[in-house]
Symmetry: C2
Subunit: 391 residues, 2 copies
């Protein structure tokens, strides 16, 4: 099977070609850099939303000519993609929607703005107050106006309602896909699942995209019905939390499954809790308000105190019958690094589960060191399972 | 002369004693952690504002038992002060006012809240919009209510107006002090100036404090009048920008002056631009709004795009006849690290001045390496001055 990194590169090249054809036909492309970007605005503008976060090691050297090395690999790779000229997708973006999430991104965007027109939205850091919501609604409204001006379109409430319906449908399908892995034994391993999701995340036409997600779901459902299993019921069931849920985390994901575990659940901005959370569109509510409410609920360590993440983790560990939790932070990701202390408290002390905190980057230099730690973690889980069976 | 670190320790011990006596007499103490904390609220509540940022190496080891090492020394030292039990001032704080400035602080506060009652204000990251100001006004209002409840007092508009007048008077005096160094040759070296300012920044009674600042100003003014100089007119005049303006930066400051330079101007959250910027209190305006407006103007790299800093630097380099700019960032301070690229562009390309970017921490381990860089920088300035004289 291809590694996730190979998949990313292959998908980028294929997708760039299709995207270019769509642009030739007059389509506009809007880059997104985070789970806080309200893609419904882009869909409502008739444009194609494209994730532009860097997830590979290659562009980092170029980025470090300008950014200090102690920025997280995602910040460096994203900036590097833009300035190194190696990413076939980046130059196709007509503009980019971004948010003041973490320090690295926020400040890097000041330089990225030199490469592409950008709308950087001011994201409140304490999302639970009404003043924060009011502020964020204004930012979403400004992003809508920005897109209208930048793309030369008018976004009507009907456009927004239609985009919300499709966005919700998409999230529902992705949630269904994630929940296929609740079965033990299950129909798919973590690596194959993420490989497939990586390929599926790029789309030109949202309707075709929804159809493809449906097909993937049907195929998994069929395997579940026919009891075709990709792993045994005895393999340690791992919940993956923190960063790198969908891309760039291939190294650790591969190690976990090579060492006999199976990643059955992902929590975080690319994980199940982000797809579960729908836009609640009420008849008499301005759709901009409905969109703003949902995107302010995204759980990321850049928020404080981000308590929802802890409720989610507690629920998911129970639902997915988790044997151990791996918490991944990119090197120099200060918010997830600090929040990890509270995650450890929750997992070890409250949930009484084995816990492994990994700090890494996109390079391969620490792979063998990580293998030793992951092997030890799997052994810890196995010992515990043997002990539990005996008692 | 005492090093700045010695001064800090001595001042802390002396101040803790005086503070304890004030508390015995019923006074309340409110900790502040940043230039964004509206100290006028604390003064209006009849309480004593005390800066609680860590500026020494000692508490960092303890902090690293919980925080990851790749947090900036200020975040680690501040947290370490609280949990290590080595700081005599920290336990005297009845509560703390803080803000969601940078990632490290924001997330560290989630753990610091376990040690002391805290009000963490949500600080907008793009301060130039009306939605940001509205949001911040609400946060300042909440901080006022928090103090009233926590300290059992009522803060009236008259209390606020009086506190604003004193805060403005204090800033005016500090600005005057900073501007004493515009003279060349000048009445005081950078090290002595910062040593004195470090001692003066702690106060129990604002009126006594204002008097002491007046006295310091008179003494410098007298030296200027009598032409008593602390340095010659030929020494390289250095503008200090970035972090560590007032405390913790002693190592680099000492090196600059040992190598023949003199730090005549500081830009940044402890520098002249923060004291120049007054609260503009209009008759018919809610004083909370006036306070909020001023504190949202604080220039820090945690803001984006923080353009005011660049205007300030341009003006100060001219006013203070600067020969070279040193830009200091604490290790792992991602916002100042990235912003430094734009500072370098301004200083080298636009202002055509020698520029030195230093990344360091509170330890002494890199002192001799830094000495070589600072010596080279002074030589670069000297060569340039010789060359300028010849042409």
């Amino acid at each position: 099977m291809a590694t996730v990194t190979e998949t990313i590169q292959e998908v980028h090249n294929d997708f760039a070609l299709t995207l270019e054809m769509a642009k030739d036909e007059g389509k506009k492309v809007v880059g997104c850099l985070c789970s806080y970007s309200p893609t419904e605005l882009i869909l409502a503008a008739g444009a194609i939303p494209v994730g532009l976060c860097g997830s590979t090691q290659e562009p980092i050297t170029k980025a470090e000519e300008i950014l200090s090395p102690d920025q997280c690999p995602k910040v460096k790779a994203t900036y590097g993609r833009a300035i190194a000229g190696t990413c076939p997708i980046f130059p196709l973006a007509d503009c980019v929607i971004a948010e003041t999430t973490c320090d690295g991104r926020k400040k890097m965007y000041e330089l990225l703005e030199r490469e592409v027109p950008m709308c950087v939205m001011d994201l409140p850091q304490k999302p639970d107050t009404s003043a924060a919501l009011d502020h964020w609604i204004e930012e979403v409204r400004k992003a809508k106006t920005y897109l209208e001006q930048q793309l030369g379109v008018t976004i009507t409430d009907d456009n927004l309602r239609e985009a919300i319906a499709k966005g919700n449908r998409r999230r529902k399908l992705i949630t269904n896909l994630y929940y296929c892995r609740i079965h033990n034994p299950g129909p798919i391993n973590g690596l194959e699942f993420i490989n497939t999701m990586t390929k599926l995340q790029y789309y030109i036409d949202i309707d075709n995209h929804l159809e493809t997600l449906e097909q993937f779901y049907s195929s998994l459902q069929e395997q579940i019905d026919k009891k075709v299993h990709a792993h045994s019921a005895n393999q340690p069931r791992i919940l993956w939390t923190g960063l790198g849920n969908s891309l760039g985390c291939s190294k650790v994901l591969e190690l976990v499954e090579e060492c006999g575990g199976v990643v059955v659940c992902q929590e975080g901005c690319g994980g199940v809790t982000r797809s579960e959370d729908q836009i609640i569109l009420m008849e008499d509510e301005d759709p901009i308000v409905s969109i703003a409410k949902r995107y302010l609920r995204v759980t990321c360590a850049c928020m404080t105190p981000n308590n929802q993440r802890f409720d989610d983790l507690t629920r998911l560990c129970d639902e997915f019958k988790i044997d151990g939790v791996i918490d991944l932070a990119w090197q120099f990701c200060q918010p997830f690094e600090i929040e990890s202390y509270r995650v450890k408290e929750l997992v070890k002390d409250t949930l009484d589960l084995p816990f492994l905190h990994i700090v890494t980057d996109y390079s391969q230099s620490d792979t063998e060191q990580l293998r030793i730690r992951v092997e030890g973690f799997m052994e810890q889980i196995a010992t515990r399972k043997r002990h539990d069976r005996r008692n």
